[in-house]
Subunit: 382 residues, 2 copies
């Protein structure tokens, strides 16, 4: 395999962007990535998108987006793995460049969720239609069940869940592109509206529009486009049972554990080597489960790590310095790429008030559904 | 790049399979491919699928399918480029194996169209939502406009269009897995019900359920799994304007021409080297346009080629020996993989009554929408 680098990035602000269409979101992020690398010709585009078809009646994003970017003809296709679509788009772009078939490939993610669609029902199509959705369950309900399983198994408390949100908003308040750029108190989180017991509004990521893009090329050509390339050291993808009821332990995310070991094996690193990480906190309970499945804490240990401030800026392993899905926002198909953008900025030392000192190795963990798919990438400043 | 081979295939019958769900279709095809290669462990799965979300309320097919195949944990993700989804799934699997990241990767396609969804409207989401679909156009309408443009530019006749369907059904009658296994006469085609002038029912591919799968591995390992490997010599993907109105010449498919030259360049072949081809005949006019854009005939020349019997079994370049989308059926996301299955059987000499003598090099051309995306693969018996 050829070594592969990310040489530039682009990203829209995240939020309720009623004035901006799906295609315009994409073009804004993609153009920024191309301009930052001063590139006008590329070999391919992958687009992470969960459900253009259901959200805005538009499948077939490959040609649409290439065309609107002014690059008609360029190979372009969409990849989907629910909320992990962005991470999988990065992975497919990585393999295309690593194979030697292409040099310059844009990995992107985009989602337009605020456009009149019944968002909760569209998102539910990422769960098992026949054994879950048909019976009425939605994602807040599924993650509420995961939270209860975690509380039951490990004594995790409502305060523990809430501390995750407080930390995320502390970071997000320092991110100019975050949807909710304000801090929240533990009391605000604990008293916010009930969504699905025990999850309240401030334990849940919002409904977001946005797009993000990163440009990949062979590491040996990176200097043509930037003096701060970031190498992709490892990529791991894993699936788990789609239906929560089919899993041995609903509080432990097998796919996250497996995708992490695959990415770590390829990269030749372990958790101790990671300086900064973006992980998939679609609900606060997800962040705790992910940190445990990845090995940053033992099962049941992530709450303590969080309460001790170790996942906050200045802590041992800062998690979701972008604000995470909770505060930065979660345009589902774009999230995996936005995570890579945050790690890129951290490793380049360009994260401003969110900067983790001397960050050299970082990772992004992006998850689909209630954790049925997970994709992990390890990045390194070179 | 490592050289890559297809070592086995599986495919469901195509048709209105009311008793078989999306997941069961997938498992049937995937299991057949694995059993044919006597393989029980693989490194990855790509699933070509246009719209599980809109057809049956199911996105996130990666984990669902891996799980139902009894392979929970295996990396799996969906790729989408409308009706070219299968071809793009093959391409991403090809790059993953070529890169050296994985050895055994299953490239699959599946679509469940007969399950109560409003099929015409779902398919229309592959066209440009803002400039085409919003105004009421559907795919029969778009291809009818292409047909008129072609008739106007080249004097193509209604008989020419109809001759394509007669040829396709002649082939499909000899394919045990085809949806419509009967021959039709020119009169039957010309007198079938009007759909969108000039296209009548027998100029249009049907609504189909089905799945197909092929197993890829490095060429150097192929002998472990088969004594009849087929090498993937080239892959080309191209986009064109999504909206028909944005194209310089609606009767000429730029994306097909571009994807063909890319695949031919990688393979080091030209049309003269091709012994058998599966091309994307979603409507009979599409087959004529594709043959011209690929260089099998000059613009306006494909009708003569067809009328002279050169695209029929025994002709100079047999096209769509499977029966094509018209007679074999068109489960949109599965089509690109089913084309590869047909070429595999042809190059192995296992196509029975449809066998092209001494076929050594074959190709599959798979197209999305009204030709806004096209993916071409060149295969060779080794």
């Amino acid at each position: 395999m050829r070594e592969v680098a990310i040489v530039s990035a682009g990203m829209t602000p995240f939020g309720e962007l009623w004035e901006t269409s799906l295609r315009d979101l994409f073009v804004q992020a993609a153009r920024e990535a191309l301009e930052n690398a001063q590139v006008s010709q590329i070999d391919g585009i992958y687009i992470g998108n969960m459900s253009g078809g259901q959200f805005v009646g538009q499948e077939h994003l490959g040609p649409l987006m290439a065309d609107h970017l002014g690059m008609t003809g360029v190979p372009a296709a969409r990849v989907e793995s629910a909320c992990a679509s962005g991470g999988v788009a990065l992975r497919t772009a990585f393999f295309e460049v690593a194979s030697g078939a292409s040099d310059l490939v844009l990995a992107t993610g985009v989602e337009k969720m605020n456009d009149g669609a019944d968002v909760t029902n569209v998102l539910a199509t990422a769960a098992d239609q026949e054994t879950e959705v048909y019976h009425g369950v939605t994602f807040p309900g599924l993650y509420a069940m995961i939270a209860h399983a975690h509380m039951h198994a490990h004594g995790t408390t409502f305060e523990d869940l809430s501390a995750v949100s407080v930390k995320s908003h502390y970071h997000g308040a320092r991110n100019p592109r975050a949807q909710f750029r304000m801090e929240v108190t533990l009391e605000q989180v604990m008293n916010s509206s009930m969504v699905a017991e025990p999850l309240r509004l401030l334990h849940c990521s919002p409904v977001t529009d946005g797009a993000a893009a990163v440009l990949l090329c062979p590491l040996e050509r990176a200097a043509e486009f930037t003096d701060k390339p970031i190498k992709i050291r490892g990529s791991g993808l894993a699936t788990g049972s789609l239906a929560l009821a089919d899993r041995p332990d609903p509080a432990f995310l097998d796919s996250v554990s497996l995708s992490t070991s695959r990415a770590f094996d390829m990269a030749g690193v372990s958790t101790a080597d990671i300086d900064v990480a973006e992980v998939h906190d679609c609900f606060s309970i997800a962040e705790l489960c992910v940190l445990e499945a990845m090995g940053f804490a033992k099962p049941g240990g992530a709450a303590e790590l969080t309460q001790a401030g170790e996942t906050k800026l200045g802590g041992k392993i800062p998690i979701n310095t972008s604000g995470g899905l909770k505060s930065k926002g979660h345009p589902v198909g774009a999230t995996g790429i936005a995570q890579a953008v945050e790690i890129l900025e951290q490793l380049r030392g360009e994260a401003g008030k969110r900067q983790v000192k001397n960050a050299t190795i970082g990772l992004a963990q992006n998850m689909g559904g209630s954790g049925a798919s997970s994709v992990v990438h390890v990045f390194e400043r070179v």
